[in-house]
C-alpha cells in the first residue's frame, strides 16, 4: 500500500514541478517522461507485489488522513492496469511530443498528464465519497485540458465542449448516487432506501465516463481530438474508471435485483454490437478505434451483467468467474487499445494523414509499427494466441456452463459475443490491410520513416504483455485472480478453467510445431526451385495503378449496406447531367448517429423552449412590478 501511495505522490510532485520549475525550461519532454516512467514502474511493482503475496489488504486504521483510503483486491487490480499503461504511454510520449515541443511550451500538458494519473490513483484508492468525487472531478478537468491541447481546430473545440458537459452531468448524477449511499461523514455506506434509484444514478453517472451506447456521444469526439498518447491513456484506462465505479456501486447496493442484471446485460449487448457497426463505417482511424472502445466496454458490461444474473440464479462460482472475466477483459482492453492508439498515433505522425483510405503500403516503411498494429488488431478481435481470446473464452465458458432452461440470458450473451467477434474481425482486417498492406494510395511513402525508438519501446512493452497473457493464460490467470475470492479458487470450476488453459498452451505449441514443419518443407523446396517476383495478377490490364485497390469503405460496404437501417451513411453524389460522361464524385461520410438523431435535436428543442420564457424578462418595468403584485396575491390566496 505504501509503495502505491508513494508512486502516486511522485506524480503529484511532478505536476507541481511542471507548474513551477519547468516553466522556464524549453525542452521538458525528456525529464517528464523519465519521471513518469520510473514512478509508474515503482507503482507497477508495488501493485504486482500487493497482488501476488500481499493479499492482506488490511485497512489502515491509524487516525491519520489515510483512513479515507483503502486498497482492496479490485482497486489493486485496476492500479496494476493503470501503471502498466502509464509505463508504456510515458515512454511513448517522450518521442511522440518531440514535434509538438518545438511549436509550444509543453509543461502545461505534462502537468495535466501527471494530475490525470494522480487523480486516477486517487479515485481507485479513496473510500470517502467526497474524496472520490474530488479526484473524479480532478480527473475530468485534467483530461479535458489534455483533449484540448491543440485547441485551434474546430472539431477539437466541439469535442471539448461535449466532453465538458458530459463530465458535468456525470458528476451531478454521482452526487445524487453518493448522497443515497453515504453516511453523514461521506464514507461509503450501503444504501438504506431506494437502492434501485441509487443504482440508476450510479449507472448513468459512471456510464457517462465508461461510454456505453446511450451515453457515448463524447467518446468518438474526444479521442480523435486528443493527441496520440493522451487518447491511448484515456481509452485504455480512464474509461475503466467507469467500470470500476459500477463494480464499486454493485458492492455498495447489497441485495442485487434481477432488473439490474438485465439492464447491464442489455446495455452491454447493444453497445457491443452497435459500437462495432458504427466502427465499420468510420474512415478516420482514431474514430474507428474510439467506437471500438465502446464495443469492448459493451463486452465488459455483458460479463458484468452475466455475473449479476448468474449470482441471482445461484451459480455463485460462475458469477465470480464472469466478474473475473470482466476484470481480465478490462486489463486486456487497456493493453491492446492503448497499443492500437499508440500505433495509430505514430502512423498519423509519420504520414500526417488520419483517413485510412489515403494510406497503404506502410508495412514496408514502418515494419515494427505494422507488427504491433497487427498484434493489437488480432487481439481486439479476440483471435487465439492473444489476450483478447482468453477473456472472451471465459465469458463463453460461463454462459455455456450455466445453460439451463430459465437462463435465457446466456444465449443472448453468446450470440452478442459471436456477432461482435466476427464484425470486429472484419473491421480490423480492413483497418490493418488498408493502412499497412497493398501499395500506397495517396500517401507518398518516400518521406515516411519508422517512428522513434522510444515509441516502439512503449509499443513493444504492451505487445509483450498481450502475447504473454495470450500464450500463457494459465500462468497469468492464476497470478491475477488467485486472491480474488477463496470460494472461487476451491471450486471445481476453477480447476476446470485452469485445465483448459493448459490445453490452450498445448494447442498453441502444436500449432507452432506444425507451422515450423510446413515452413521447413517449403524452405527445402524453395531452395531448389526458382523464386522470382512479378507484378500482381490483374487480368492482363496493362497500366494498373494503386487507385484500383480495395479501400476501407469499399471493403466494409456490403456490411454497411446491410446495417444501414441502424447507421444510415450520408452519401453525397451529384446526379449525372447531360449525356456525355463528365467527371463525377461519390463521397460517403459516416454520421454520428446517436448524436445527430437523439442529443442534438433534444438540446435544440430545450433551448427553443427556454427562449419561450424570454418574455418574462421583456424589459418592461411595469411587467416586473406586476410580477411582484401577482406573487403577493398568489401567496395570499394560497396560504391564507
Amino acid at each position: 500500500m505504501a509503495i502505491i501511495i508513494a508512486s502516486s505522490l511522485i506524480f503529484l510532485f511532478a505536476a507541481f514541478l511542471n507548474l513551477s520549475v519547468f516553466s522556464k525550461y524549453r525542452k521538458v519532454n525528456f525529464i517528464n517522461s523519465v519521471i513518469s516512467f520510473f514512478a509508474s514502474l515503482i507503482g507497477f511493482g508495488g501493485a504486482l507485489a500487493e497482488l501476488s503475496y500481499g493479499g492482506k489488504f488490511s485497512p489502515i486504521n491509524n487516525s491519520s488522513f489515510l483512513t479515507y483510503f483503502r486498497l482492496d483486491y479490485v482497486s489493486c487490480f485496476f492500479l496494476l492496469a493503470l501503471y502498466l499503461i502509464v509505463v508504456a504511454v510515458s515512454i511513448y510520449g517522450n518521442d511522440y511530443l518531440k514535434k509538438m515541443e518545438e511549436k509550444k511550451q509543453l509543461n502545461f500538458f505534462w502537468m495535466n498528464f501527471h494530475i490525470l494519473v494522480f487523480s486516477m490513483c486517487g479515485v481507485l484508492l479513496s473510500k470517502n465519497a467526497f474524496l472520490f468525487l474530488l479526484f473524479w472531478e480532478l480527473m475530468a478537468f485534467s483530461s479535458f485540458f489534455l483533449v484540448m491541447t491543440d485547441h485551434k481546430k474546430k472539431e477539437v473545440q466541439k469535442a471539448g465542449l461535449i466532453y465538458l458537459c458530459a463530465n458535468g452531468a456525470g458528476a451531478l448524477f454521482l452526487i445524487a448516487a453518493f448522497s443515497l449511499t453515504s453516511d453523514s461523514y461521506f464514507n461509503f455506506a450501503p444504501a438504506m432506501s431506494g437502492s434501485t434509484l441509487a443504482f440508476f444514478f450510479f449507472l448513468v453517472g459512471f456510464g457517462l465516463k465508461a461510454g456505453f451506447i446511450p451515453l457515448h456521444i463524447w467518446l468518438p469526439e474526444a479521442h480523435p481530438a486528443a493527441p496520440g498518447n493522451v487518447s491511448a491513456l484515456m481509452s485504455g484506462i480512464m474509461i475503466k474508471m467507469g467500470i470500476y465505479g459500477i463494480f464499486r456501486a454493485l458492492s455498495l447496493l447489497s441485495p442485487w435485483q434481477q432488473s439490474w442484471g438485465w439492464t447491464i446485460l442489455l446495455i452491454g449487448i447493444i453497445s457491443s454490437i452497435l459500437g462495432v457497426i458504427f466502427a465499420l463505417a468510420q474512415h478516420n482511424i482514431k474514430k474507428l478505434l474510439a467506437y471500438h472502445s465502446i464495443e469492448n466496454i459493451g463486452i465488459i458490461m455483458i460479463a458484468m451483467g452475466l455475473g449479476i444474473l448468474l449470482n441471482l440464479k445461484g451459480f455463485n462460482e460462475l458469477s465470480m468467474l464472469s466478474f473475473c472475466a470482466a476484470f481480465l477483459h478490462t486489463l486486456n482492453h487497456a493493453i491492446f487499445k492503448s497499443l492500437l492508439f499508440m500505433s495509430a498515433g505514430s502512423v498519423m505522425q509519420a504520414s500526417g494523414i488520419g483517413e485510412i483510405d489515403e494510406l497503404g503500403g506502410l508495412a514496408r516503411k514502418m515494419p515494427q509499427t505494422a507488427f504491433f498494429f497487427l498484434i493489437a488488431s488480432a487481439a481486439i478481435s479476440g483471435l487465439p494466441f492473444l489476450n483478447g481470446f482468453v477473456s472472451e473464452f471465459i465469458i463463453y465458458y460461463c454462459s455455456f456452463k450455466a445453460l439451463s432452461s430459465d437462463s435465457l440470458f446466456t444465449v443472448f450473451s453468446v450470440l452478442a459475443l459471436s456477432i461482435t467477434g466476427a464484425l470486429a474481425l472484419a473491421c480490423f482486417a480492413k483497418a490493418f490491410s488498408v493502412m499497412f498492406l497493398g501499395s500506397p494510395r495517396k500517401i507518398k511513402t518516400e518521406s515516411v520513416v519508422e517512428t522513434g525508438k522510444y515509441m516502439r519501446a512503449g509499443m513493444a512493452i504492451l505487445s509483450f504483455f498481450s502475447i504473454l497473457i495470450g500464450i500463457l493464460p494459465y500462468f497469468s490467470f492464476n497470478f491475477l485472480f488467485s486472491k480474488f475470492s477463496p470460494i472461487l479458487t476451491e471450486s471445481h470450476v476453477w480447476h476446470e478453467i485452469s485445465r483448459i488453459f493448459i490445453f490452450f498452451t498445448g494447442t498453441y505449441l502444436c500449432a507452432i510445431f506444425f507451422f515450423a514443419v510446413f515452413m521447413f518443407m517449403r524452405r527445402k523446396i524453395v531452395s531448389e526451385n526458382r523464386v522470382d517476383l512479378a507484378p500482381t495478377w490483374d487480368c492482363g490490364y496493362l497500366a494498373s495503378s494503386p487507385k484500383i485497390q480495395y479501400t476501407g469503405s469499399s471493403f466494409a460496404n456490403p456490411l454497411i449496406e446491410f446495417f444501414s437501417i441502424i447507421n444510415p451513411p450520408s452519401a453525397s453524389y451529384p446526379a449525372i447531367r447531360g449525356y456525355f460522361p463528365s467527371d463525377n464524385s461519390y463521397s460517403s461520410h459516416p454520421r454520428a448517429f446517436f448524436y445527430e438523431t437523439l442529443y442534438k435535436p433534444s438540446i435544440d428543442k430545450m433551448r427553443k423552449m427556454a427562449s419561450f420564457f424570454s418574455f418574462i424578462h421583456g424589459g418592461n418595468l411595469r411587467m416586473y412590478v406586476l410580477y411582484i403584485f401577482l406573487s403577493l396575491l398568489a401567496l395570499i390566496l394560497w396560504k391564507i
Partner: protein
C-alpha cells in the same frame, strides 16, 4: 498565545456595543471625508483604509466570539444586538460583508486609474464619462455602513430601514458608467426594490399586530421568546416579509432587477451587490423564518420557501442556457445560488435545523467569495476585450493566459466541483430530498444543475478557446488586479476543507 486570545475575547465581549457602533459610524465619517477631499487618489486610499479598519474590527469582534457559544448575554430590547452568541448568522454575514468590501476597495485602487485612461464608447457611440469619484466613494462607504447596520440590528423596523438604505445607497453606484443602459438598470433597480421593500414594511407592521397580544414590540430577541402570536396575522406578516425581502434577495418571480443591475454596474459594485447585498436580504428572511418557526408555524414558511426555491432554480436554468452575455450569466448564477439557499432554509425543518445551518453558512461564504472573485475577473475581461457578449471574445487562453487560468478555476469552483465549497450544500440538498422520498423534485433539481453547468460551460468554453491566431499581450497591472480574485478563490477552497475538518470532528 492563549492569553492574547483570552484578552481579545474579554474585550470583545465587554465593549461589543462600542465596537459595533464604531463599525457603523466609521464608514459614514469616511464618506463625509471623501465628499470633502478633492483628488481622486486620496478618495480611493480613504476607501481602502476604511475597508481595512472595518475588516480588522469586525474580525476582532467575530473570531473570539466563536469560542464562547455558551455565554448567552440576553440582548434585551436594545436596538443593536449585544453579542453574536445568540445569532451566529449575523457574525458570518458581517464577516462576508467586510471581507468583500476590503477586496472591492483594493480592486478599486487598481481599476479606477485604468478606467480614467481609456475612453469607452457605448454601443450607440456616445462617449461614456464616469460618475464623479466623490459620489462613487461616498456612496460606497454609505453602502458599507448600511450593510453593517443590517448585520447588527435587533429590531425588525431598524432591519427594514437598513435594507432600504442599502438600496438607496447602491442605486447611484450602479449608475457609475453614465450610459443609457446603466441608467435604465438603475431606474428598474430602484422601482422594483423600493416597491418590494415597501411590502416588507407592511409585513413588519403586520408582525407587530400579530405580536400585539404581548405588547407588539418588534425586538427580534423578544419575538423569539413570545409564543402567543395571532397566527393569522403572523402568516400574513411572513408572506409580506418573504415577498418584500425576496425581491431584494432575487428570488425568482421578483428577480428581474438582478441581471440588469449586475450586467450594467461596474464590476466591483456588482461584486458587492451579489456577494454582500443578497446575503443581507437573506438574513432578513432567515430572521422572519426563525420568528415564524419559534411560533410553531415552521411547515408553513418552509413550504413557501421550497416552492420559491425550486421556481428560482427553474428560472435561472432557463435563462442561463440561452444567455449571450457573461455578466448576465454570472447574475443568473447568483439567482440560482440564492434559490439554493432558500431551498436549504426550506428543508431545514425536514432535515434538522442544526446541520442545515452549517450548510447554509458554507454556501453563503462560498458563493459570495467565488461570485465576487468572478465579477472582479469579469471587469478585467470587459476592460481587456471591450465587449459583454462572449461570442465576441475568442481564444483568451492565447491572449491572456494567467487571466484565463484564473477565469477557468473560477468556473470550476462556480460549477460546484468538489474542491469548491458549493459542492457540499448541493450534496446535502440532494441527499435531503432523496432520503425524504420525494424523488421527482430531486431529479428536477439535478436536471436544473446540469443545465446550469452546461450553460455556464458553453459560455466559459467559447471565451477561452478559439481558432483566431493571437499573440500574448497581457498588461502587468492587469496581473496585479488578479490578486483579489485569486485570494478569494483560494480562501473559498480553504473554507471548504476547513468545514470538512469540522464536520469530521
Amino acid at each position: 498565545m492563549i492569553s492574547i486570545i483570552d484578552l481579545l475575547r474579554d474585550c470583545s465581549i465587554s465593549c461589543f456595543k462600542e465596537f459595533s457602533l464604531f463599525l457603523i459610524i466609521m464608514p459614514i465619517i469616511a464618506s463625509i471625508i471623501c465628499f470633502l477631499l478633492r483628488s481622486n487618489s486620496q478618495k480611493r486610499s480613504v476607501l481602502f483604509i476604511a475597508g481595512f479598519f472595518h475588516f480588522l474590527v469586525s474580525a476582532l469582534l467575530v473570531f473570539p466570539q466563536l469560542y464562547i457559544d455558551n455565554i448567552s448575554i440576553s440582548n434585551s430590547n436594545s436596538l443593536f444586538i449585544s453579542s453574536f452568541s445568540g445569532n451566529v448568522e449575523n457574525a458570518v454575514f458581517l464577516m462576508i460583508v467586510s471581507l468583500l468590501f476590503l477586496g472591492a476597495s483594493y480592486y478599486v485602487m487598481g481599476y479606477l486609474p485604468m478606467e480614467e485612461k481609456n475612453i469607452r464608447k457605448d454601443e450607440e457611440g456616445f462617449i461614456i464619462n464616469d460618475e464623479p469619484e466623490t459620489v462613487f466613494s461616498g456612496f460606497m462607504l454609505l453602502f458599507l455602513a448600511s450593510m453593517t447596520l443590517v448585520c447588527f440590528s435587533n429590531h425588525m423596523g431598524l432591519l427594514w430601514a437598513a435594507i432600504e438604505a442599502t438600496t438607496l445607497f447602491s442605486a447611484p453606484l450602479i449608475y457609475f458608467h453614465r450610459s443609457r443602459k446603466s441608467l435604465e438598470a438603475t431606474w428598474k433597480y430602484l422601482v422594483v426594490c423600493s416597491v418590494g421593500i415597501a411590502i416588507a414594511l407592511l409585513g413588519t407592521f403586520f408582525l407587530s399586530i400579530a405580536a400585539s397580544s404581548s405588547g407588539g414590540s418588534l425586538y427580534i430577541s423578544d419575538l423569539y421568546s413570545t409564543n402567543s402570536f395571532n397566527t393569522l396575522w403572523l402568516k400574513l406578516a411572513f408572506i409580506f416579509l418573504f415577498v418584500g425581502y425576496g425581491t431584494k434577495m432575487g428570488l425568482s418571480p421578483m428577480h428581474t432587477w438582478l441581471p440588469d443591475a449586475h450586467s450594467e454596474a461596474p464590476s466591483m459594485v456588482s461584486a458587492l451587490l451579489s456577494g454582500a447585498l443578497l446575503n443581507c436580504a437573506f438574513l432578513a428572511i432567515w430572521k422572519s423564518h426563525l420568528i415564524v418557526s419559534s411560533a410553531g408555524l415552521e411547515s408553513f414558511s418552509s413550504s413557501i420557501m421550497v416552492v420559491f426555491g425550486i421556481f428560482t432554480l427553474f428560472i435561472s436554468a432557463v435563462f442561463i442556457i440561452n444567455q449571450r452575455e457573461y455578466k448576465r450569466a454570472l447574475a443568473y448564477s447568483s439567482v440560482e445560488n440564492m434559490g439554493l439557499m432558500c431551498l436549504l432554509l426550506g428543508i431545514s425543518s425536514i432535515a434538522g435545523y442544526e446541520n442545515t445551518k452549517q450548510f447554509i453558512f458554507i454556501n453563503a461564504i462560498g458563493h459570495s467569495l467565488i461570485k465576487s472573485g468572478m465579477f472582479f475577473l469579469a471587469g478585467l475581461v470587459f476592460f481587456q476585450y471591450k465587449s459583454k457578449k462572449f461570442s465576441d471574445i475568442e481564444s483568451m487562453v492565447e491572449k491572456t493566459p494567467t487571466m484565463s487560468a484564473v477565469w477557468f478555476i473560477g468556473f470550476i469552483l462556480l460549477s460546484g466541483a468538489p474542491p469548491s465549497p458549493l459542492f457540499l450544500p448541493k450534496f446535502f440538498l440532494i441527499k435531503a430530498f432523496l432520503s425524504s422520498g420525494n424523488y421527482y423534485t430531486a431529479i428536477f433539481i439535478i436536471l436544473a444543475f446540469i443545465i446550469i453547468f452546461g450553460g455556464l460551460g458553453r459560455i466559459f468554453f467559447s471565451t477561452l478557446f478559439g481558432s483566431k491566431e493571437t499573440e500574448k499581450d497581457e498588461s502587468p497591472q492587469l496581473k496585479k488586479l488578479l490578486i483579489p480574485s485569486q485570494i478569494f478563490f483560494l480562501s473559498s477552497m480553504f473554507v471548504s476543507f476547513l468545514f470538512l475538518w469540522f464536520l469530521r470532528g
